[in-house]
């Protein structure tokens, strides 16, 4: 479980995060949504320890990150998996090399043990014939799956995804969403996903946090978000014509 307590973050004169408090539960897919510039990425990078909050605390299973020693922080980071927006696969390594990288770096496993683990996770993300291909030789959807495989290869306790669906067609996006949901349940991990994709909200949003101008504007589930009266949330959720029509139908049906 991750608990966030009143975090603030500024860059120069720009106050990006303005006192966010929330918690992310184990075994659930937690979504952070909001418009571009609302502070989602900065918030996620604070959760990952890439940015240090100016104020407030973030604790992982009760351990406040800033109170941990440097080596404890590094150990904690090894319990985190991250899927970046652009996948962030290492160009110079093959698919297999990318997934094996954390194992080679942090474990003392034999080559065959590492190979078995890589085969298992690549099979889990439905990538069987791409072991020896380089990132530039595979599609965006496949790159995302490799990034997920790399993120879970060390059996993480926390999985973070920054817009995992960006740049993907709707069908592949749903596949990726479902894969993340399945992995969250299967490995019983705390998953935090940064997105502005409403399909993801509907499909896998077990807990949703809506950020607006660096504030937490709303918090709830994917069932609740479509019924909320919060104007900022409804503006965001129903910004597309499709969702506007769906809402209209819902209101008509209810009446």
């Amino acid at each position: 479980m991750i608990e966030v307590n009143n975090i603030h973050k500024s860059f120069g004169d720009s106050h990006i995060l303005k006192g966010i408090s929330t918690s992310f539960e184990k075994g659930k897919t937690n979504l952070i949504i909001g418009q571009s510039g609302s502070g989602k990425t900065v918030f996620l990078k604070c959760l990952l320890g890439l940015f240090t909050p100016d104020e407030g605390t973030i604790s992982y299973n009760g351990n406040i990150y800033d109170d941990l020693s440097a080596s404890q922080q590094r150990n904690l980071r090894q319990e985190m998996g991250m899927v970046f927006q652009g996948s962030a696969l290492f160009d110079s390594l093959t698919v297999e090399g990318n997934v094996m990288f954390p194992l080679e770096m942090f474990t003392k496993q034999s080559k065959s043990e590492m190979q078995d683990r890589v085969d298992t996770v690549l099979k889990r993300v439905n990538l069987i014939d791409a072991h020896h291909k380089f990132p530039s030789e595979i599609s965006g959807g496949m790159q995302k799956r490799v990034a997920i495989a790399r993120a879970i290869v060390m059996n993480p306790k926390y999985l973070f995804c920054d817009e995992p669906n960006s740049g993907l067609d709707p069908k592949t996006a749903i596949l990726i969403d479902n894969l993340i949901l399945e992995i969250t349940k299967e490995y019983d991990i705390t998953t935090v996903i940064n997105t502005h994709d409403m399909n993801s909200v509907m499909e896998i949003g077990e807990k949703i946090i809506f950020l607006k101008n660096g504030h937490k504007e709303w918090e709830g589930t994917n069932k609740e978000i479509f019924k909320t009266d919060n104007a900022a949330v409804t503006d965001f959720v129903y910004s597309s014509e499709l969702f506007k029509k769906v809402r209209q139908m819902y209101i008509e049906e209810r009446n």
Partner: protein, 245 residues
């Protein structure tokens, strides 16, 4: 003020890159890869440039020796001194700042832009140690390339001098043996090692701390080349004063 902050950040980077070393089995392969990329991959251009620089120095020396009282062996002597003391270590380093330096800045900068460095950090890897340290170690073989540059430069002088009709083979060889001071080779190698460190670290600094997108990667490469060259030229002056003055 910005320059002072950048110099401070550069030295902080140097300190950070020695912390939390990467596993030796991985580091070993990274070093070998960088030796291949940075040193062996540069030998072609080093040999090419050195050969012609040696040739040009010889021709220019020969054309300026109009006094019949000055022995012809001075052509070989001047070529040797110029190549060993300056052209091989310093001129080659400026070229390497462009070739190797821009490669280092753009490769690390692209990793920054595409969040590959963030990915390393999230995993708990000391990205500076992983990316920059192998380049420093690989470039410690740079004096080996400079030794080749010296040899090829002097050979280029011989080819230009003899086949261009400016001197005879015997007087050129006599010239390159004249008053030879072995310490000059040591001086050149000391300079090379220091320039190698500069070529590995200044471009890495500009790539690692760059912000923005593809355009900024290009700009960072140019800035890195300028600052690496400035550092080499200033250090060349300081080292010459310290070691030969």
């Amino acid at each position: 003020m910005n320059y002072i902050a950048s110099i401070g950040s550069y030295f902080i980077m140097i300190r950070e890159l020695f912390k939390k070393p990467t596993k030796w089995s991985i580091m070993k392969s990274l070093i070998l890869k960088e030796i291949d990329e940075l040193v062996f991959g540069s030998l072609g251009i080093i040999i090419f440039i050195s050969f012609f620089i040696g040739g040009v120095v010889t021709i220019q020396t020969a054309l300026n020796l109009t006094n019949p009282l000055i022995p012809e062996s001075l052509i070989g002597f001047a070529a040797r001194q110029s190549v060993i003391l300056e052209f091989a270590p310093t001129f080659t380093s400026i070229i390497m700042a462009g070739k190797v330096g821009s490669y280092i800045t753009s490769s690390i900068g692209t990793m920054r832009v595409t969040e590959q460095i963030d990915a390393l950090e999230v995993m708990g890897v000391n990205s500076l140690n992983y990316l920059v340290f192998p380049k420093i170690i690989a470039l410690m073989l740079y004096p080996f390339a400079i030794a080749i540059a010296m040899y090829v430069g002097i050979f280029g002088g011989w080819v230009a001098g003899v086949f261009g009709g400016f001197t005879t083979s015997a007087s050129y060889i006599e010239g390159i043996q004249l008053d030879f001071i072995p310490y000059h080779i040591t001086y050149a190698f000391i300079k090379s090692i220091i320039f190698a460190f500069v070529i590995a670290t200044i471009p890495s600094f500009h790539g690692y701390y760059m912000k923005g997108g593809a355009l900024e990667v290009g700009k960072a490469s140019t800035t890195a080349f300028v600052w690496t060259s400035v550092a080499i030229i200033i250090l060349n002056y300081v080292l010459t004063q310290l070691l030969l003055g």
